[in-house]
């Protein structure tokens, strides 16, 4: 008598909703497969061929040669070839990692500081918050050019400021000199992205109930101790998410470096060198291999972060 009903029946509410959900998702997923998954697979495929820019369909399968290969000369000497033994590539890897680490570290600390300031109640807070949104709103390319002008060696205002304060004794070509180019890129990136960090931190701070602070105040706990023992642990989850988003952004940086310090070995990142090989040097397959490596690096980074993060979150009782 009691027939089994459920997912098998086609007329119930949940069946109707699941059917609708399927058709709602199909267009979006097909679009993503078309513009993301398929091109990614093609890039990976190209990295195992000798395809060139001019003849996209004439590539032959050459296995891992773009990554690493060796040839033994008749003299017995072994010659290694491929991205993995290319000093220019490793230079780019080093630049990218260095850039990511330093910029995210500074942005996190500065962002947290700005957020703490904005979390105070003071007159004109809305205006200050609006002001810090400006760097974020300016397109990266535009800010690269603005800063390029400010950092100009002959007429730049930065040199003028530093000279008049006495911090330097002659004008410096910030973006063109190998020693300082990375500092220039870091400065602009930190300037542009700290607001984003500050807003995320501020959102985290605003979720902390006020009475926790009041309780600490009544107990006479020193503000610095309150920060380390109360504030930081409570906004840690929000902070961790913000850091991963920023790190992923920093690892793939292209536009700022490309425009602010063109052709500088000191700042060339993985994205820049890969694009250069793909389109400027007609080493399409080689560039594809480098793109694939960057993708793999980011994938590993994300998995590790999620994995470590989960282990960590498990320890938090309140999660």
């Amino acid at each position: 008598m009691a027939r089994k009903s459920g997912a098998a029946s086609g007329n119930s509410l949940s069946a109707q909703r699941k059917r609708a959900a399927f058709w709602f998702l199909v267009p979006m997923l097909s679009a993503l497969i078309f513009v993301a998954a398929w091109p990614l697979l093609r890039t990976i495929y190209f990295s195992f061929t000798d395809t060139s820019l001019t003849s996209l369909y004439d590539g032959r399968w050459i296995g891992f040669d773009n990554y690493l290969s060796y040839r033994e000369l008749s003299s017995g000497r072994v010659i290694w070839k491929g991205t993995l033994v290319d000093p220019a590539w490793w230079n780019a890897v080093w630049n990218t990692v260095r850039f990511t680490f330093i910029s995210v570290a500074f942005e996190t600390v500065l962002g947290l500081m700005v957020a703490l300031v904005l979390h105070q109640n003071f007159k004109g807070r809305g205006w200050v918050r609006a002001a810090i949104l400006i760097p974020w709103a300016i397109p990266t390319i535009v800010s690269a050019r603005m800063w390029g002008w400010m950092l100009n060696d002959q007429f730049g205002i930065i040199n003028d400021m530093l000279l008049s304060v006495g911090l330097i004794d002659r004008k410096i070509a910030w973006t063109a000199t190998a020693d300082t180019a990375m500092y220039a890129v870091l400065a602009v990136d930190i300037w542009k992205t700290t607001p984003f960090m500050a807003l995320l931190c501020l959102a985290g701070l605003q979720m902390i109930p006020r009475d926790i602070y009041e309780a600490a105040k009544v107990d006479g706990v020193h503000p610095i101790k309150v920060f380390w023992k109360v504030t930081l642990p409570l906004i840690r989850p929000a902070l961790m998410v913000a850091i991963i988003f920023r790190s992923l952004d920093a690892l793939r940086i292209f536009d700022l470096v490309y425009v602010l310090t063109p052709n500088s070995q000191a700042t060339k990142t993985m994205s820049v060198i890969a694009r250069e090989n793909l389109f400027d040097f007609d080493k399409f397959a080689y560039g594809s291999a480098q793109s694939t490596l960057l993708f793999a690096l980011i994938a590993i980074f994300v998995s590790a972060y999620i994995w470590l993060g989960k282990v960590d979150l498990g320890g938090n009782a309140d999660r």
Binding site: S14, V35, Q120, F122, F254
Partner: protein
């Protein structure tokens, strides 16, 4: 006394934050009002008010064309993404089915893609479709970041809508399509505006795809036009005109951001914190 010093220190920090945030833009504005040799003198305050640079930029047909391209591309990309994202995010936020969280994570993963990783494959696809050096190349390729972003943010917004309103609509005989179009969309328009604006800014600012998939000056978007605007030597870089152009494309964004301040912050945190 100590309290007083603390106060002064606090206001110094606030002033520093504001000055550092605003100064580069302020300096670009000052520069854009200068012409001739006065460009090469460092000034901290406005010394001249010459609109010649703006006139020069506005007379430049190619630059105006770039602005048109950017508006068209960003608008079309966002419209397309929102159209697909609204229904998809309803499914992701409101319907229980197996593999839902896996799907959400994959969509988030796509938004974290390094764009360079799809560049070669997209180039092939765009060549194959015959849309290289047309706005369609950008409209297609920008979907890769606008679509996951809009889906993700709208899903978090839609999840917060009260369940009983939806159930009341179900009892009233509303299909999922009715619920989206007649109940949820009218309730969500602030979220839609925010999401659309953020996606628009993202598309407006994009550089790598626009640089790679355009060849002629007429097809360039604003960032590419500004990046490649230069004289034959460094001394010939038209700094005044360049800064004027920068100000022109930035001011609308700043105004929008200031108007939608509150909403943008909630949109950013929906995309970020709740991830």
């Amino acid at each position: 006394m100590k309290k007083h010093l603390q106060n002064v220190g606090f206001w110094c920090v606030v002033a520093l934050i504001v000055i550092v945030s605003v100064f580069p833009f302020y300096y670009a504005v000052i520069t854009s009002f200068k012409t001739g040799t006065s460009l090469f003198e460092v000034d901290y305050f406005i010394t001249s008010f010459d609109l010649a640079n703006y006139a020069q930029v506005m007379e430049n047909k190619k630059f105006l064309r770039s602005i048109f391209n950017s508006v068209l591309i960003a608008g079309a990309t966002v419209g397309f993404a929102m159209f697909l994202a609204v229904t998809a995010s309803y499914a992701l936020a409101r319907v229980h089915f197996r593999g839902r969280s896996l799907l959400l994570m994959s969509i988030l993963a796509v938004s974290m893609f390094p764009q360079i990783a799809v560049l070669a494959g997209l180039f092939e696809l765009i060549r194959f479709l015959g849309i290289y050096n047309t706005p369609w190349a950008m409209i297609l390729s920008y979907t890769i970041f606008t679509l996951p972003f809009t889906v993700w943010v709208l899903t978090t917004f839609m999840r917060d809508l009260p369940i009983e309103i939806e159930e009341a609509a179900i009892i009233d005989g509303a299909t999922p399509w009715n619920i989206i179009t007649q109940v949820f969309l009218p309730l969500m328009w602030p979220a839609l505006v925010t999401t659309g604006l953020l996606a628009f800014i993202g598309a407006w600012n994009e550089f790598l795809f626009a640089l790679t998939f355009t060849a002629s000056e007429e097809q360039r978007t604003v960032p590419v036009a500004i990046a490649l605007l230069s004289g034959s030597t460094e001394f010939e870089t038209p700094w005044g005109a360049l800064m004027a152009a920068s100000v022109i494309v930035t001011v609308p964004l700043i105004i929008l951001v200031l108007i939608f301040q509150q909403k943008i912050v909630s949109g950013l945190t929906a995309g970020g914190v709740k991830g």
